[in-house]
């Protein structure tokens, strides 16, 4: 349970770990900007390198690499691999 909680937003992912984006907990304007960059609910996001100071961090999504600050990454809620939906519930997470 605790490991689930740790990875329930993007900032908790370990390097190379992937997760399915569930929800963007940001005002609609900012959320839309992130969605334009590929952070769509249902998209698979992979955590990549940190900037040398440990923040921001690069994420791979939709074939591109996007850097986000930790405070933004915390607002991008993900499903850990364990809770990632099978095909049956896949449509439910697509808005």
């Amino acid at each position: 349970m605790s490991s689930n909680k740790r990875a329930s937003d993007l900032s908790g992912l370990r390097a190379g770990e992937r997760a399915v984006l569930h929800h963007i907990d940001l005002p609609s304007g900012e959320a839309q900007r992130l969605m334009e960059l590929g952070f769509l609910p249902g998209a698979s996001v992979e955590a990549a390198l940190f900037a040398p100071g440990g923040d921001p961090r690069v994420y791979r999504v939709d074939g591109a690499e996007i850097a986000l600050r930790r405070e933004t990454a915390r607002k991008l809620l993900v499903l850990t691999p364990a809770e990632a939906p099978c095909s049956e519930s896949a449509d439910a997470v697509r808005i």
């Binding site: 959320a31 900007r33 390198l49 986000l68």
Partner: protein
């Protein structure tokens, strides 16, 4: 689920002469490279009315004498008007031009959609809203060379059927696909055939549609960019990353100062010599003085910064085109965030060490309006090279050079470094004050795409330099000429028996005397007052003015000018002058460029008042302390 059948045929509209073609594409799609490739030197830059977005217009010469106008629209990920009001000016301009709502500009007759072929589905998301415009459209799959090299492929025929418009594989850097693009520009192309489009307001729906189209075009995505991943492991490495970053910053500094110095000396000598040459061939008159001492030397005082600015932009060009700039912004972000700024402010602020004008021009890469404003407002605190002549003069005159750290650092060098640090500290302080007051907001989100590394091309760099040089000369020139003429008039009028008066009897002298009570608390006399007035044109002008006042050729006899100042200024006044120049916005070109970039007089006036107040207070304190 998308069906892969060909959509029903629509009627193609008859051929019509395309007069204006818009280039549109997401950021990093190589759109501007293609624009440069098509138009070469036949470009001009202006601003769209009411916003600070640059309008890049160009002409493409087709066979015969026909030309087509091309406009390079700002990069956009989508055309959807959003609800949160965070749409950047860039995106608004793109939308308005395509809808024919941009004043002073006809609706484009056709559109080139430039997308990165190495990431097709992602980039095709933008095709849905562009197709819905109903304008003749050519989809340019750029970076086709990259796609092939990394083992990807796409069926352009099938893609063309899916999109109902023409599709061409291209490489703007290699020139691949240019023929087809030129043909499209010239041929009066047909409107796209209607295809079924997703709900345009929904990004997920558009993205799903793009995925379907991509699947139907049997797209084979290329292997991940291996070199980019390898390089990032070095450039973002916890130890090597900052080391490389530091090296890059030092290299930029070294080149824009040491590298540019001989060229700048050459430009200075050219303006002085040519002025003298013309002066020797003109009868002595007030007009000769106006021409040589007003217009010509005023022009020279701006052009002299051009070599440095071009070198700076060459560096920024290499960094940006190679993809390193995004990494530099990423590395700088954490530190910049502490001052309430963000990573993208870093390069403009670094540029400001050469000159605030190009620095403020370079803030256009910052999407967040608040971050951009904060960067513009603090950039003039950075020690630009126009401050160096007066710093050097005063420090040499008032501070005996003694070693502080052995031969490494003397008192004079330490004073110079101290002035750099002082400007920087005031910039940071101002940024903090701004972000907690006028420009208060939730801490801005730093979101930045990291493009793959690429080799910059000479052609791209050359055109960029030319473009920046033109913009700089026009921005600064428009201001500096009238300012130089007005300041010349102040220093040379009223005429005394048909001849210019000695400078203390001129209008400038009168103003210097008039403001003396106001600047006396800073330890300045009326002569410095005149210098403060004339240096509004450009800071380094004060050295020449002081030379004129003391009757000394400032360049040739710096030692005598130093002695004159030692007799005439107290140490407190001298340090006050250093502090004043560290903080004051003594530069009309900067005021003008801020007005231009912020779209009104409010910010430059506030900024000028604020910086002058800080400068006055600082100089007053320095005068009291020393």
């Amino acid at each position: 689920m998308q069906d892969c059948h060909a959509p029903s045929n629509g009627l193609a509209s008859g051929p019509a002469q395309a007069r204006l073609v818009a280039l549109i594409g997401p950021p990093n799609s190589g759109k501007t490279t293609l624009f440069n490739r098509l138009t070469g030197l036949r470009q001009k830059v202006a601003n769209y009315p009411g916003v600070t977005v640059e309008k890049h217009l160009g002409h493409v010469r087709l066979d015969g004498n026909r030309t087509v106008g091309v406009v390079d629209l700002p990069g956009a990920y989508s055309l959807a008007p959003d609800s949160g009001g965070s749409t950047s000016d860039d995106e608004r301009v793109t939308r308005d031009v395509l809808a024919g709502r941009m004043p002073g500009m006809p609706r484009p007759d056709a559109v080139l959609l430039i997308i990165d072929a190495t990431n097709l589905a992602r980039n095709l998301t933008l095709a849905a809203p562009v197709l819905s415009l109903g304008l003749p459209l050519l989809v340019v799959l750029n970076m086709a060379d990259d796609l092939r090299r990394r083992g990807g492929s796409v069926d352009t025929q099938a893609l063309s059927v899916q999109l109902g418009c023409q599709v061409v594989l291209a490489s703007a850097t290699q020139g691949e696909g240019l023929e087809a693009i030129l043909k499209f520009l010239g041929a009066g192309p047909p409107a796209p055939k209607p295809v079924s489009l997703p709900v345009l307001q929904s990004i997920p729906k558009c993205r799903q549609w793009a995925a379907g189209v991509t699947r139907c075009a049997s797209y084979q995505p290329p292997a991940p960019p291996a070199w980019t991943r390898r390089l990032d492991r070095i450039f973002l490495h916890p130890v090597a990353g900052p080391a490389v970053f530091g090296l890059v910053v030092v290299a930029v500094f070294q080149v824009i100062f040491s590298g540019a110095a001989p060229i700048m000396d050459g430009v200075e000598a050219f303006f002085a010599d040519s002025g003298n040459w013309v002066a020797a061939r003109m009868p002595d008159s007030i007009w000769r003085s106006l021409l040589i001492e007003g217009v010509w030397s005023g022009t020279g005082s701006v052009v002299v910064f051009l070599p440095q600015i071009l070198l700076l932009f060459l560096f920024i060009g290499v960094l940006e085109d190679s993809g390193y700039l995004a990494r530099a912004a990423l590395i700088a972000d954490r530190t910049m965030a502490k001052a309430g700024l963000q990573g993208k402010s870093f390069i403009p602020l670094l540029s400001a060490y050469a000159c605030a004008v190009p620095a403020i021009m370079a803030t256009r890469t910052i999407e967040s309006r608040r971050d951009r404003m904060a960067t513009i407002l603090i950039a003039p605190f950075m020690t630009c090279s126009a401050r160096l002549p007066i710093y050097a003069l005063i420090i040499a005159a008032f501070l005996p050079d003694r070693p502080l750290l052995g031969p490494l650092l003397g008192t004079q060098a330490a004073a110079m470094l101290g002035l750099y640090a002082l400007g920087f500290a005031m910039a940071v302080l101002t940024a903090k004050v701004l972000r907690s007051s006028v420009l208060k907001s939730e801490r801005g989100t730093f979101v930045m795409e990291m493009p793959p590394y690429r080799w910059p091309t000479w052609r791209g760099l050359g055109l960029r330099l030319l473009d920046r040089a033109r913009v700089f000369l026009r921005r600064a020139g428009i201001v500096i000429l009238p300012v130089a003429v007005v300041l010349w008039a102040l220093a040379h009028l009223p005429l005394d028996n048909g001849k210019p008066p000695a400078i203390e009897n001129s209008i400038a002298g009168a103003i210097g005397h008039a403001i003396e009570p106001a600047i006396a608390p800073l330890g300045f006399n009326w002569k410095i007052g005149i210098g403060l007035l004339t240096s509004l044109a450009s800071r380094e002008v004060i050295v020449g003015t002081l030379g004129t006042i003391y009757g000394i050729e400032a360049e040739a006899e710096t030692v005598r000018l130093q002695e004159a100042l030692q007799r005439d200024l107290t140490p407190g006044g001298a340090f006050g002058l250093l502090i004043f120049f560290a903080f004051a916005m003594q530069c009309m070109s900067t005021v003008a460029v801020v007005r231009r970039e912020t779209g009104g007089w409010t910010w430059p006036v506030v900024q000028f008042a604020y910086m002058t107040t800080v400068a006055y207070a600082g100089a007053w304190a320095a005068n009291r302390l020393f």
